[in-house]
Structure formats: C-alpha cells, structure tokens
C-alpha cells in the first residue's frame, strides 16, 4: 500500500472514530441541554450520572448474573430513575431558594456520586462482558471496528428516542413551557413539577445510554465521569439549552479528540475544546446556534 492511499484511509478511520465518539457526546450533551432548557439547571452532575450508568451495567452483570443486553436495559432505566430523583429529593427545595444554591448542590452531588462509586467499586477498571465481536468491517478499503458501529448506533437510537418524544408528543412543548415562565405555565394547567422531573429523567436516560457507550469504548473506571464532562462544553458550544446545538457540539467535541491524537497531540484535544469554549464565551456567550431563549439569563 502506498503512502497516498494510507493517508486518506487513516483520516477516514479517524473520521469514523471521531463520529462514533461524537455521537456519544451528542447524546450526553442532549441530556444536559434538555435539563437546562426545561429547568434552567446547570446539571454539573451529568458526567457523574454517565459513570453511574456504566457502573450499573457492571453491577447488574456481577450481582444478578444478567446477560449484557438485560443489564444494559436495567442500567438505562435505573439511570433515568436516578435522574428523576434529583429534582424530587434535592433540586426543587434548593432552586426555590436560589439558582446559586441549586448549582452548588449539583456540583456537590457530582462529588458525592464520584466518591460513592469509588467506595463501592474501588479504583480499578472494569470491562463490559459484551457480545460484540472485535471484528473489522471492510468498506472501500477502510477498516471499521465493529464495536464502533454499535457505539454510534446506540447513541443515535437514544438521540432519536429523545427527539421523537419531544417533537411528536405534546410533552416537548410542556417541558419547555416551564422554562418560559413557571407561574404562567402552572396557571395554564401545566404540572411544572412533573415536567421538571421528566426533564431530569430524560437527562438521566441520556447519561445511562452514554455511560453504556463510553464504558464500552474506554472501560469503566473513575475517569469516566471526567471524560463525560466534555458534554458540558459540547452543549455550551452549540448554545446552552439548544437541542440541535448540543448534538452538533457533541459531534464537534468527539471529532476533535481523535484528530488531535492522530496528529500526535494526544492530550491537546481537550485543550483545544476548552480554549474554543473560552473564546466563544468571551466573543459570543450564547453559543454558535443561539436561540431566542437569551432573555432569561
């Protein structure tokens, strides 16, 4: 194989790798954006919830001896339930006091979850007992590892489910109404409390599926929560609260990392992402796809 054919195939593989990773970030960022859109909460615990989803798969396979698919479904459902529990137990009383108290509470929650996972599971790394073969698919001279397709597929199924729920059912409108004016929405008959719980539940669902994908990708360890936090710049680059922006931002964040690594700057990917976020916040804080929700900041 000559160098000429090697380079495009390398970059095509990098592209697929970046797209698969980016799909996971898009999904996690989508969960972050839904919560921000519906409740104005900056859910710093989203990264920790991703780790919870991944560790739950490990726990379900180890403790209940479930096969991987059942363990995965259980973990996703449990993640969504944990998401619902956040506003029910903690966030509502805090946000009733102030936005700052709610933000601080979610930051503290991320620490509690991270430390709790370390206490229960130790600091070692786990691997999923997945049925996916590590086979390579050949496509026009490009080899794609099969798990990559599973990762991207699971992410996009998750994204599609959330998008369909918000677009095709009245729930999307109802969820959004809470952020436009809680008092008005509740006078119009919207159960604002239930809608906020639903939004956090969707956030937890996205984190659960994201944990499944990221855990499959890089193994399950305490680093997972920190890696998943990249969903926050992803959501912010597109514009906080913009669902379309979160998906595009997630893909961008996913693409930057493998390309930086392919160019020999293994750790520079994160740096570039956060530097871009910094510049964006100074120049155009509402993000690339600023919506009309600017007025409520």
């Amino acid at each position: 194989m000559s160098a000429l054919t090697l380079i495009p195939s390398l970059s095509l593989q990098t592209l697929f790798d970046g797209l698969a990773l980016g799909s996971a970030y898009a999904l996690i960022a989508l969960g972050f954006a839904v919560v921000y859109r519906a409740t104005d909460r900056f859910n710093f615990a989203q990264g920790a919830l991703v780790a919870v989803g991944a560790y739950l798969v490990i726990a379900a396979t180890a403790a209940f001896h479930l096969a991987f698919p059942y363990a995965a479904v259980l973990a996703i459902v449990a993640s969504a339930v944990i998401g619902v529990a956040i506003p029910a137990l903690m966030d509502r009383p805090l946000s009733a006091r102030s936005q700052q108290a709610a933000t601080l509470g979610l930051v503290a929650l991320s620490v509690v979850i991270g430390a709790g996972l370390e206490l229960v599971f130790g600091s070692g790394a786990y691997k999923f007992a997945t049925p996916f073969a590590s086979a390579m698919l050949e496509w026009r001279g490009v080899t794609i590892p099969e798990p990559l397709l599973w990762e991207a597929g699971a992410s996009w199924i998750g994204i599609a489910m959330v998008a369909l729920l918000l677009r095709l059912t009245p729930l999307g409108l109802l969820i959004r109404s809470g952020s436009e004016g809680q008092a008005a929405a509740s006078h119009a008959g919207v159960n604002v409390v239930a809608m906020q719980r639903l939004a956090f539940g969707i956030g937890g669902f996205c984190a659960g599926v994201g944990g499944l994908v990221l855990g499959q990708r890089e193994g399950v360890s305490t680093d997972l929560a920190n890696h998943a936090l990249l969903a926050i710049p992803a959501a912010a680059i597109g514009g906080l609260g913009s669902l379309r922006g979160a998906i595009i931002g997630g893909l961008l964040v996913g693409l930057i990392q493998p390309f930086a690594a392919a160019l020999g700057m293994a750790n520079a990917g994160e740096f570039i992402i956060y530097l871009a976020l910094m510049a964006l916040l100074i120049l155009r804080p509402r993000g690339l796809f600023a919506g009309r929700e600017w007025s409520r900041v």
């Binding site: 108290a101 933000t103 930051v107 509690v112 709790g116 740096f271 956060y274 530097l275 910094m278």
Partner: protein, 330 residues
C-alpha cells in the same frame, strides 16, 4: 477584648502544639497548621467571589497552580527575592482570573461558571507545558524564602508570616464588604436589576470581584508550594477546586469567618479519618478499607455535608444562632 484573647491564643498556639497528645489524640504538627492557614487564604478568596459576589467558580485550583508556577519561575528560575515572587504570583492570579471574568461583559450566571470551568482545563493543560519548557524534566526549584535579611526557614517563622497574611486578607476583605463597593457587590448578588437600578454596575463589580479573589488565590498558590514543595500542576485538579466550594458552603457563604471555619474543618478531616482508622485497627479488613479509601471517604462526607447545609442551614456554620432573614452580614 475578644481580639486580644484571639491574638494571645494564636500567638501561644505553636508553643502548645509541641509533642503533646491530650486524650491520646496526637496534636497536629505546626507545619500542618501552616498549610491550614494557606487553605484559609484560598477559602477566603473563593468566598468573596461566590459568597459575596454570587459567582460560582471552578477555577480556584487553576489559580492556585498559576500562583505556584509564577512563584517557581520568578523566585526559582530568575532567583528574584521571595516578596517579589509572592507579588508576581498575586498579579498573575489576578490577570488569569480576569480572563475568566471577561464573559461577564456580556453574560452572567452559568456563563461565568462555564468560563471558570473552561479556564481550569486550559490552565491545567498549559502549565505543565510551560513547566517543561522552563525547568525541563526537573522539578520546580524555589529560592529560599526570606524577608530581606530575615530567613523564613522554620515552621514557627512560617506560622507567624502566614498568620499575618491571613489576618491582613481577612481584615481587608471585611473592610471591602463593609464599604460602599462591598455593599453594592452584595446587592448585585441578591438582586441584580435592583442593584443596577441603584447605580451599581454589575459588570464592573463582577470583574473587580474576580480580580480581587483571583489575586488572593494566586498568592495562596505560591505559599502552598513553598510549604509543600514539588506540587506539580497536575495536583490542582477539579476536585481541589470543588473542595474549596465545600469549605465555603459548610462554613457559611458570604461570611469570611465561615471561610476560615470551613478550611479548618477540611484540614481536620484527614487526621480524623486516620484516627478512626487507628481506633478500628489498621490490620482489620475495615481498617484497611478505610486506609485505602481515605480521599473518597472525605470527599463523600464533605459532598453530603455541603448538600445538607445547602438544604437545611443555608447560612452555614458561621450562621448558627443568627436570624435566618436571608441578610448575611460580612
């Protein structure tokens, strides 16, 4: 009267700590007390930004790292005197903090949290590169600290230097908070539109609060590495930044005294967990578990305590016994 007692107690403290173990509990070394004073400085500075100006910041670890690096370059690499290194670290901290404050010109709230979050990662990536290019693979070197002809070379001398710095910063912050600017800053925290209707400029006040807070954090970072040499930039992770948030929430948001209490509690935690470990028995399985998981036990405890304080006692430990009218006196 209270001030006199306080000064007497603080002055006698280092002499009381030598080699005693009342009730079988070993008292901390003076060097450990010194590190606590540095943490108090960090908590005071974050408390000014978060508690008084209302901006949640995740950049404090990065500011510590900036101060540490600046002191290493100015004091160690260029060999300039210790006070110059400290001043440079303060200035560098303030400048880096100003970068995080820039979005305040257009936006507020979560956008400032985002910018401090981004700044944390940018600084934590850039500093090791800078360290590599200045010092190579070697560790930091620092000039021996001295104030003019007076060498700061024993824990006792460090203690009185740090005590003076913490007292000065404490009084300065309290003074600011009682003055016109401080009142305007707190008004902005409580009701931004109301404050600006009364003539306060939230953008300017936010940026000033960032500069003051970040400068103190840079100073604290420089002092930190003089006390704990070789503190690599990687040591100042996100957990380090969040630890300060826990300290100020538990101590009492907006209260400088609360910040001191919170930092002291945070520093008390490791010896307490170790004492628990000794009580349980280090060779037993639960003792070994405690020893292996000490950082996580502390993190989980302080995280839960932070949530509990936010939920049930929002004025923190400093606010006990005070009216809960929501008015927080500095």
């Amino acid at each position: 009267m209270g001030v006199v007692v306080l000064i007497a107690v603080l002055g006698a403290l280092p002499f009381a700590l030598t080699q005693r173990a009342p009730f079988g509990l070993a008292l901390p070394e003076l060097a450990s007390v010194n590190l606590t004073l540095v943490f108090m400085l960090g908590a005071l500075s974050l408390n000014f930004l978060t508690g008084s100006a209302g901006v949640v910041s995740l950049a404090h670890a990065a500011l510590f790292a900036t101060g540490a690096m600046t002191a290493a370059v100015i004091g160690g690499h260029f060999g300039w005197p210790f006070p110059v290194a400290l001043a440079a670290a303060t200035l560098a901290g303030a400048l880096v903090g100003l970068v995080a404050a820039l979005p305040a010109l257009q936006a507020r709230g979560v956008y400032l949290l985002l910018s401090t979050f981004a700044l944390h990662h940018v600084v934590l990536y850039a500093l090791p590169q800078l360290k590599l290019s200045v010092f190579g693979a070697a560790d930091y070197s620092y000039s021996p600290p001295a104030l003019g002809p007076f060498a700061i070379d024993t824990p006792l001398r460090w203690y009185f230097l740090l005590l003076a710095i913490v007292a000065l910063v404490y009084l300065a912050l309290r003074n600011i908070l009682r003055g016109r600017e401080g009142l305007a800053t707190m008004a902005m925290r409580d009701h931004e539109f109301g404050a600006s209707a009364l003539g306060a400029d939230p953008r300017l006040l936010t940026i000033k609060a960032f500069a003051i807070s970040s400068g103190i954090a840079g100073l604290a970072g420089a002092l930190y590495v003089y006390l704990a040499p070789g503190a690599a930039p990687e040591r100042f992770g996100l957990d380090f930044a969040i630890a300060f948030i826990a300290m100020i929430v538990i101590g009492g948001l907006g209260s400088p005294t609360g910040a001191l209490i919170g930092a002291a509690l945070w520093r008390l935690a490791p010896p307490l967990v170790s004492a628990l470990d000794t009580r349980v028995g280090e060779t037993t399985s639960s003792g070994a578990w405690i020893a292996a998981h000490q950082p996580s036990i502390i993190a989980a405890t302080f995280g839960l305590a932070t949530i509990a304080v936010l939920l049930f006692a929002p004025t923190g430990l400093a606010g006990f016994g005070r009216s809960s009218s929501g008015v927080r006196e500095p």
